[in-house]
């Protein structure tokens, strides 16, 4: 656990995204990077190294020329860091070693872009412009053997696309992070257990139940039964559109467990679709105590608890005091 705390953000991200050595190898295979490509790249290593500053300037000038490129450049420390990382990138790009260390570098730069809010289209355009400049240098070098120059450039381009793959993945992953966090909080919030009367609980379930949520429902229900000394629980599933066999079984297990704790569960509001799918799935419904709607369920629960509802004075017929 200790090294989990000491990890850099890039290492954490790489773990979250499942960047293992195998997946990195897979990425190389996808862009078709071969040993021959690595040899060709090695041949132009010194050539590229000689122009690092120039290429870095080209990339950032391109960004500076566009409004959408500004986010990375307005904050001085971010801009400095980005330049530094870009230099390191260009050096590493021709080192012919594209393992996990290289990926970690790419992740760090991608996170910086993503945090600064750099538009993906602008990044792609600037990167393309940078590659064009490298291409020009290479073609000049191979003036007399243009075919070889082209092949070399295409080998480098494979590395470039390998990089783009990583960067795009990170930017999309970061964008989806917000959605994932929202989903999590919806899940957490959506399992309230309410006490309606002494010894009577209401458990409304709304939305999609998956295995994870079903477990949360079980946990909070069984704990609430104990905490509120409940005898009857009304589980209302009016808001549940679909249910699969795994979740249905989980619900039945929860109801049986509640029974072991001395509480009766009444299920209300099973929609026609859910009811049909339960029957089709062949779920054992003998243990299920169902009532058509929530009102019926509450009446049944009150009956079980020995409550009698008696209509008293009709207060609504009196003039509301707030309006007088």
């Amino acid at each position: 656990m200790a090294d989990l705390v000491n990890q850099t953000p890039a290492q954490l991200l790489s773990r979250e995204m499942g960047m293992t050595e195998q997946s990195v190898e897979r990425r190389k295979r996808i862009v078709g990077l071969t040993a021959q490509d690595l040899e060709r790249i090695a041949a132009i290593r010194d050539l590229v190294h000689a122009h690092i500053e120039e290429y870095t300037a080209v990339f950032f000038d391109y960004l500076a020329a566009l409004d959408e490129g500004r986010p990375v450049l307005t904050n001085r420390s971010v801009a400095e860091r980005a330049r530094q990382l870009k230099r390191e990138h260009l050096i590493a790009m021709v080192q012919s070693d594209y393992g996990t260390a290289y990926i970690a570098q790419r992740l760090e730069l991608a996170m910086l872009y993503s945090k600064a809010g750099l538009d993906l289209r602008v990044f792609l355009a600037a990167f393309h412009h940078l590659l064009k400049n490298i291409g020009v240098t290479i073609m000049k070098h191979f003036e007399h053997t243009p075919m070889e120059g082209f092949e070399t450039f295409m080998s480098l381009k494979k590395v470039a696309f390998f990089d783009i793959g990583v960067i795009v993945d990170v930017m999309v992953f970061e964008r989806e992070r917000v959605i994932r966090q929202q989903q999590d909080s919806i899940r957490e919030l959506s399992t309230p257990v309410l006490q309606l009367r002494e010894r009577l609980l209401l458990l409304p379930i709304i939305g999609v139940i998956d295995t994870h949520r079903a477990r949360l429902v079980t946990e909070s229900l069984l704990r609430s039964i104990r905490a509120n000394r409940a005898k009857v629980v009304v589980m209302d599933v009016t808001g549940v559109a679909t249910i699969d066999s795994k979740v249905a079984n989980h619900v039945i297990q929860t109801i049986t467990a509640a029974k072991l704790m001395g509480a009766t569960v009444i299920v209300t509001g099973l929609s026609a679709e859910v009811a049909q799918s339960l029957v089709v799935l062949g779920i054992d419904l003998a243990k299920l105590n169902t009532v058509g709607d929530l009102q019926g369920g509450l009446e049944e629960a009150e009956l079980l608890l020995g409550y009698q509802l008696v209509r008293g004075e009709h207060r609504m017929s009196r003039a509301p005091s707030a309006e007088t």
Partner: protein
């Protein structure tokens, strides 16, 4: 470790305080069976509040205790099954078929009294 058995009117209360070995459970079953006859008890409460595990042997023995008590003329009720224990039992497919359960000792006593009242009224 033996289980204390308390007499409360015509009801016997066996309160299990700590994890029991299989041997202890069998002893508890025999002891309860003999006391139900000797004290002419009409109800037995088995309190498992303190247990955080109920395995298949324990479940089967508790079921056995309840059936034995029933044959000797006393209703049995199991009380105080913890939330985690309840769910684990269901997942393992362990059931207390036909044996009433209640939240805690108080509820268990209420349930036994209600049963007695039903019986007294010839239901």
């Amino acid at each position: 470790m033996s289980v204390p058995i308390l007499k409360q009117g015509d009801i016997l209360i066996a309160s299990i305080q700590a994890a029991l070995s299989d041997r202890d459970l069998v002893d508890l079953r025999d002891e309860l069976a003999s006391r139900v006859g000797r004290l002419r008890s009409r109800g037995v409460v088995i309190d498992v509040t303190a247990l955080d595990v109920l395995d298949s042997f324990a479940t089967r023995t508790i079921r056995g205790i309840a059936y034995t008590a029933k044959l000797r003329g006393a209703d049995a009720v199991v009380v105080g099954i913890q939330p985690d224990v309840a769910f684990a039992m269901v997942q393992l497919g362990l059931t207390l078929e036909g044996i009433p359960t209640a939240l805690d000792l108080e509820e268990g006593l209420v349930l036994l009294r209600a049963r007695k009242a039903d019986r007294d009224h010839g239901k």
